[in-house]
């Protein structure tokens, strides 16, 4: 068998699996999206139909807020952890990255334990303020949930990027008289910018498409994935659900493609 034939055969199983279980189904999805009462204009409904547009805006705002909060927290912590060595540092890093593999459902449960009816925060506020604060089942709870699975991911990425920083640039800035604040602003953060932007894009795309967390916290939180779910299962509006899914998929993919032009390698949303 020639080498070229061997290479081609090696790709065959992959081709079969990907076509059968991804490409064809996705095609089916796109076609179904246009097969409902609204036809092709179902795809525009996400922008024009007030109910859908409200959900879209909700989702985008939530994702944006999550992104900003995560980047700020994770950059500060990531820089701090990578640049300082102290007793207990390794344990702290392990604690911060431990939730990395939690599925959205489990994260939802964590939030319930923190801010639910029997939650820790509720108990503390009851002690201090006399009133139980319960917000797990609202958009605030969802926000917290998104932070929960976004921060570990971004911290790891930032720490890796900080490690690769060229220290001699900072030393040169110091030699020229720059104070720490200026060094952070002019040397460190610009150098970390690609990693920050790439991570931010992942957080945003993941938050847009996250389902498990919202599902666990309540079925009536108004975000796009929940809308798709209810359209499909409760309203049996399959075409609309399909159209919305394709729209969501496109948005997520576009954001990640943009981020890739900053970081140069393929990255993934998950959760």
């Amino acid at each position: 068998m020639t080498h070229r034939l061997f290479v081609r055969l090696s790709l065959l199983p992959l081709a079969v699996v990907v076509v059968a279980f991804f490409l064809l189904p996705m095609l089916q999805l796109i076609i179904t999206g246009a097969s409902g009462d609204l036809g092709l204009s179902a795809y525009a409904a996400i922008l024009f139909e007030p109910r859908y547009r409200a959900t879209l805006i909700n989702t985008v705002l939530l994702a944006a807020a999550t992104t900003v909060a995560t980047l700020v927290i994770a950059t500060i912590s990531g820089l701090f952890l990578q640049r300082h060595r102290f007793f207990g540092r390794a344990i702290l890093v392990a604690m911060l990255t431990f939730p990395l593999a939690f599925p959205g459902v489990v994260v939802g449960f964590m939030i319930i334990l923190l801010a639910g009816r029997q939650g820790l925060i509720g108990d503390v506020t009851l002690l201090l303020l006399g009133e139980k604060l319960v917000f797990a089942y609202s958009i605030a709870g969802l926000f917290l949930g998104y932070l929960y699975f976004s921060i570990p991911r971004v911290i790891l990425t930032i720490m890796a990027a900080v490690e690769k920083l060229d220290r001699s640039l900072e030393e040169a800035a110091r030699a020229l008289g720059a104070r720490p604040w200026a060094i952070h602003r002019d040397v460190i953060l610009p150098a970390l910018a690609p990693a920050i932007v790439a991570s931010g894009a992942i957080v945003f795309a993941t938050a847009m498409g996250a389902f498990g967390t919202a599902f666990t916290l309540a079925t009536n939180i108004d975000v796009l994935p929940m809308l798709i779910y209810t359209e499909f299962t409760l309203s049996a509006n399959i075409a609309m659900a399909a159209a919305l899914s394709v729209g969501l998929g496109l948005v997520a993919w576009a954001i990640l493609a943009l981020a890739r032009s900053f970081s140069g390698n393929t990255i993934a949303a998950a959760g």
Binding site: M1, F6, P13, M26, I73, A101, M110, L113, G209, F232
Partner: protein, 265 residues
């Protein structure tokens, strides 16, 4: 002085975040073995909730392992040769293929599940079996296996090894078995750990694809959060942690060792 203050402030923030992440996890682990969560540890430790979880959800635990292992087998058979072909061929085609297989990571699991349902929902035998779930998991985890193996190929300069083996007369299949795969083992192992971990924890896809007879552990978890008392839900979550944490630790050790090997080269 300013430095010290800044150090303490950053430390405080980091500790707060760490607490935010860890405390509920610890709470849930404790709740799983506490007789009564409302009264706390004072009510005593017990394994009754774990036992109850096993009675109610043993099938989901077993099924999750089965799905994960079958997914792993498929990604190995499909992904390792494909990674070799893509790496050796290079060029625009390889990049395009890598793009395509990575697409499922960009698209929300919900959408992929919907697509699978629309395409194969009609094949009722397939649709009602666990293999339907495996199909979804394979689509989602395949890029991790492929990328992991390609990464190790680049590290060990597999192209030159391939050429030198061919200069010694080995045919393509022979080279693959004697030289390519043995030297890709670190990447294959790392990819395998990743695939199993992801499969065990997958929810978004699986929730849409499952039937009452094909529930996996995360699907069971969602059930229990909605309908079971806190202690049972916590015990179930504890079981999940026990399954997943050794895998995470193994991946971390692997990543460290791989990092050190790179440094030595």
């Amino acid at each position: 002085m300013g430095n010290r203050l800044s150090f303490l402030a950053q430390l405080a923030l980091t500790l707060l975040v760490a607490a935010f992440l860890i405390v509920p996890a610890i709470l849930s682990m404790l709740a799983g073995v506490t007789a009564n969560y409302f009264r706390g540890i004072r009510s005593g430790l017990t394994l009754q909730w774990v036992m109850q979880v096993w009675e109610l959800y043993a099938d989901t635990i077993v099924r999750s392992f089965a799905v994960a292992l079958i997914t792993l087998a498929v990604t190995l058979i499909v992904g390792v040769p494909a990674a070799y072909a893509l790496h050796v061929r290079g060029g625009r085609l390889a990049r395009a293929v890598e793009e395509i297989i990575t697409l499922p990571l960009a698209i929300p699991g919900l959408a992929i599940a919907l697509a699978l349902l629309l395409a194969y929902g009609g094949l009722s035998d397939f649709r009602r079996s666990s293999l339907f779930i495996v199909a979804g998991h394979v689509v989602f985890t395949l890029p991790f296996m492929v990328r992991s193996v390609i990464a190790v190929f680049a590290l060990i300069d597999v192209k030159t090894l391939d050429e030198s083996a061919s200069s010694l007369g080995a045919s393509a299949w022979r080279r693959f078995c004697d030289v390519i795969v043995p030297n890709a083992v670190p990447g294959i192992l790392a990819g395998s750990l990743m695939v199993v971990t992801l499969s065990l924890g997958e929810f978004n896809l699986t929730w849409m694809l499952h039937t009452p007879l094909t529930k996996t552990l995360p699907v069971g978890l969602a059930d229990s959060y909605a309908s079971m008392r806190l202690e049972v839900a916590s015990a179930y979550t504890l079981v999940f942690f026990v399954m997943i944490i050794p895998l995470l630790v193994a991946m971390q050790i692997f990543a460290d060792r791989a990092g050190r090997q790179v440094a030595l080269r």
